[in-house]
């Protein structure tokens, strides 16, 4: 029995060690870890424009272009980020740094991430909230950051992923994937004020309230997607009373069919279904600059 227990305990210890090793390696190789660590370390930073969103924003919004027009900019977006994640990042940034003039929030075109109000990206949770939160088996680093494993494997397999860079928070990937999808005009429902007042958007309004309190201009954009999920919806002004603060937001629709047709090319600008590559990010950020300049 002694031999068995030696085997079993050694196995558990080695598994624990593998978890610690994973946590040691990730901040050194993973883009999102590196970037989050960098952003978390900002102290007394003076940025004029700060960008939030999920992976669609991280790949698709180029802070260098924003900087040329509006002064220094940084893209805080992280993969799989919920609105609560963005709220945590924004409030932390505002506590430790100077007030920016603009906060730009980029919503995923599919709206799929926003059905739940409470859900923080584990990397943000790790750096911003509780590094060694141990609430159960799912808090093991190998489990908690499991999606980063496949993301990093991509670097081993693809030159485009290996040569990708994170610059001012944007993940710049030059890989091109053609959009072969066909437009479906009848299936897309345009959202209204009530939709954006649902619980899934609770933290978007918390961000809006925070910006209003600090006198920061906040603008929201819906990111573009492949043809089959582009829409004919107009830009929308929405409002909500957050506590005692009446908040107004303008949601600029970058997923509008005519905008996408004018701006984006099926063959050159896409990385995947709802992610722009470096080419696409330049075009869409130019459009964002144009919108904000008017």
């Amino acid at each position: 029995m002694k031999k068995f227990f030696q085997f079993f305990i050694a196995l558990l210890l080695a598994f624990l060690l593998a978890n610690l090793l994973y946590l040691f390696v990730l901040p050194r190789v993973d883009w999102e870890f590196k970037k989050t660590k960098e952003a978390h370390n900002f102290k007394d930073k003076q940025l004029n424009v700060i960008v939030f969103g999920n992976s669609t924003g991280m790949d698709g919004i180029n802070p260098e272009i924003l900087s040329e027009k509006f002064g220094s900019a940084y893209n805080f977006s992280v993969g799989g980020a919920s609105l609560q994640t963005n709220y945590v990042q924004l409030s932390y940034y505002l506590q430790h740094n100077a007030r920016p003039s603009k906060v730009l929030l980029f919503l995923s075109s599919a709206h799929t991430n926003y059905v739940k109000a409470n859900d923080v990206n584990p990397i943000i949770e790790y750096y911003y909230i509780d590094s060694f939160h141990i609430g159960g088996l799912t808090d093991m680093p190998l489990f908690r950051f499991r999606w980063t494993f496949v993301e990093n494997i991509k670097k081993l397999l693809s030159f485009n992923h290996r040569s990708a860079k994170v610059i001012n928070g944007q993940l710049q990937i030059k890989r091109m994937v053609t959009d072969f999808t066909v437009r479906k005009n009848d299936s897309i429902v345009c959202h209204d004020n009530r939709f954006y007042n649902s619980t899934g958007y609770e933290y978007m309004w918390q961000m809006a309230a925070l910006c209003r309190e600090k006198g920061i201009q906040m603008e929201v954009f819906e990111m573009p997607c492949w043809k089959d999920v582009q829409n004919n919806c107009a830009d929308l002004e929405v409002n909500k009373l957050v506590g005692n603060t009446a908040c107004n937001l303008f949601i600029h629709n970058l997923n509008n069919v005519s905008k996408c047709d004018t701006l984006l090319e099926s063959k050159k600008d896409w990385l995947s279904r709802d992610h722009l590559n470096y080419n696409g990010s330049i075009k869409i950020t130019d459009e964002v600059v144009r919108i904000l300049s008017h």
Partner: protein, 479 residues
């Protein structure tokens, strides 16, 4: 309680601790503990069916003793048939009643007769097909005077209800399991380490391969009409791997768990997709069920010793019954029928016993081109039959096959890059480790503790990184 659940991670170490440390090797207390744990394990699904399990156990225990005590053949036959009829009666009511009534009503409706028949909506007690077959093999063996009736009720109950195999097998025989239950057990570290390794391998197959394949399979089978040929073919192949990894994964966890308790269970799978014909496939797939049907149905019917025509009839009977055992649906019957049709040619030509050894037995590390060709053909035939097994109705299976041929331009699976990488990596590990086990089984590679440690650790890490943790039930629980 599922093997792939947190509750089992808590339940099993407690049982293990009490079993080896509190009972201090006292066989009687060990068996009482295992029986109590087994009943608790079963009650976690639905405590009401525990009474059915205990009743079925009591019936076979009692009729077994009565048969044993009686020298009069008529009395023996009476007790034997009483047990068989009641056991099959339960199975019939819980599993097949609605099917027969439904088919009867449907048949009449074709003749223009509309009938309103009362049907009962019952939940199928989990594992009923498995524990009924345990009990039946026991009474048949006593009736045939192969074994003596067990007098110790706890020991017999444990044979029927032993938790690692209670809900999805392997279907054990009294001749193999009962002597182990009655024998003093000593802890064997080598076996226990091998048990841990087998459990982890089973978990890998279940949560990394089967549950991941389930995502593709469910997507394709639920909307087969809109998917194109390529997606449908991938869906069917994915189901072949899903069902194999789900069921053999369960068997591995069961066998591994049991090794930790010092009890060896019979092997249930032996690399079935390396089979070179259907006959070989059935010697490697769900071995405990196919040998059960061979010993308790095929051979009593005359087996292959009867005339050619009767032998063919016997083959059809066991395949159809095997299909029907899986579920009360025409799809399972057709699945069994397809296997019978695929089996018959080799049976008639006498080549059904041609491949009795693993390919590596012939001192070949890599199979020949002919071997590979035969394996691929057998796998594809088995995969076509699985479409009937997976489909909800015969019509759905028919449409699925029809769309494979005709719907070339249908929807594609549109998998994300991350999914493709994750699936490729999972399968690469699955094939590598399977090959390693094949070579190890055939003594081409040595087993060392260090290798077992490295393999277990590697698999544990990959389970954590790539597994699906939605706690999907095992497919064979429904049978």
């Amino acid at each position: 309680m599922l093997f792939n659940s947190v509750s089992f991670l808590i339940f099993f170490p407690i049982v293990f601790f009490f079993y080896w440390f509190v009972t201090k090797g006292n066989l009687k207390w060990q068996n009482i503990l295992l029986l109590a744990a087994s009943y608790f394990f079963y009650a976690c699904w639905d405590y009401r069916f525990l009474f059915l399990l205990i009743f079925s156990t009591g019936l076979d225990y009692y009729t077994g003793i009565k048969m044993d005590e009686s020298e009069n053949q008529k009395k023996r036959s009476f007790w034997f048939w009483l047990s068989v009829i009641i056991n099959l009666g339960f199975l019939g009511v819980f599993k097949y009643y609605n099917f027969f009534i439904g088919s009867f009503v449907e048949g009449l409706s074709y003749l223009g007769v509309s009938v309103n028949v009362w049907t009962i909506k019952v939940i199928l007690p989990v594992g009923i097909s498995f524990y009924t077959f345990h009990g039946l093999s026991y009474v048949i063996d006593i009736y045939n005077r192969k074994i003596k009736a067990e007098r110790n009720f706890v020991d017999y109950s444990l044979f029927v209800s032993y938790f690692p195999l209670l809900v999805a097998g392997p279907i054990e025989r009294a001749t193999h399991l009962l002597p182990q239950i009655k024998q003093k057990r000593t802890f064997n570290s080598k076996n226990a380490i091998s048990g841990i390794e087998q459990m982890i391998w089973g978990f890998f197959k279940k949560v990394v391969i089967a549950d991941t394949m389930a995502i593709i399979v469910n997507k394709v089978f639920d909307d087969a009409a809109s998917y194109g040929s390529v997606a449908l073919i991938i869906g069917a192949i994915a189901f072949s791997f899903q069902i194999y990894c789900d069921f053999s994964g369960y068997s591995d966890i069961a066998i591994g768990t049991s090794k930790l308790l010092g009890i060896d269970l019979i092997q249930n799978f032996n690399f079935p997709y390396l089979s070179r014909n259907i006959a070989e496939f059935w010697r490697r797939w769900h071995i405990s069920l196919s040998t059960w049907f061979r010993d308790y149905l095929y051979i009593p019917l005359g087996g292959s010793k009867a005339s050619r025509l009767l032998s063919i009839r016997n083959v059809f009977i066991i395949f159809l019954v095997s299909g029907f055992w899986h579920g009360a649906n025409w799809t399972f019957l057709i699945w069994g029928g397809i296997h019978a049709l695929l089996f018959i040619p080799s049976f008639v030509l006498g080549s059904n016993r041609k491949y009795k050894e693993d390919i590596v037995h012939r001192n070949k590390v890599v199979p020949s081109v002919l071997d590979i060709f035969q394996m691929v053909i057998t796998f594809l035939l088995v995969t076509i039959a699985w479409i009937f097994f997976r489909a909800a109705t015969l019509a759905q299976a028919g449409h699925y096959l029809n769309n494979i041929v005709h719907n070339v331009k249908g929807k594609t699976l549109a998998l994300e890059n991350s999914d493709v990488i994750s699936y490729s990596l999972s399968f690469a590990v699955f094939f590598t480790v399977s090959t390693y086990f094949l070579y190890r089984k055939n003594h081409l590679l040595k087993t060392t503790v260090l290798k077992q440690f490295a393999l277990s650790l590697g698999l544990l890490i990959l389970i954590t990184l790539l597994g699906q943790f939605s706690q999907q039930s095992f497919i064979y629980f429904q049978f």
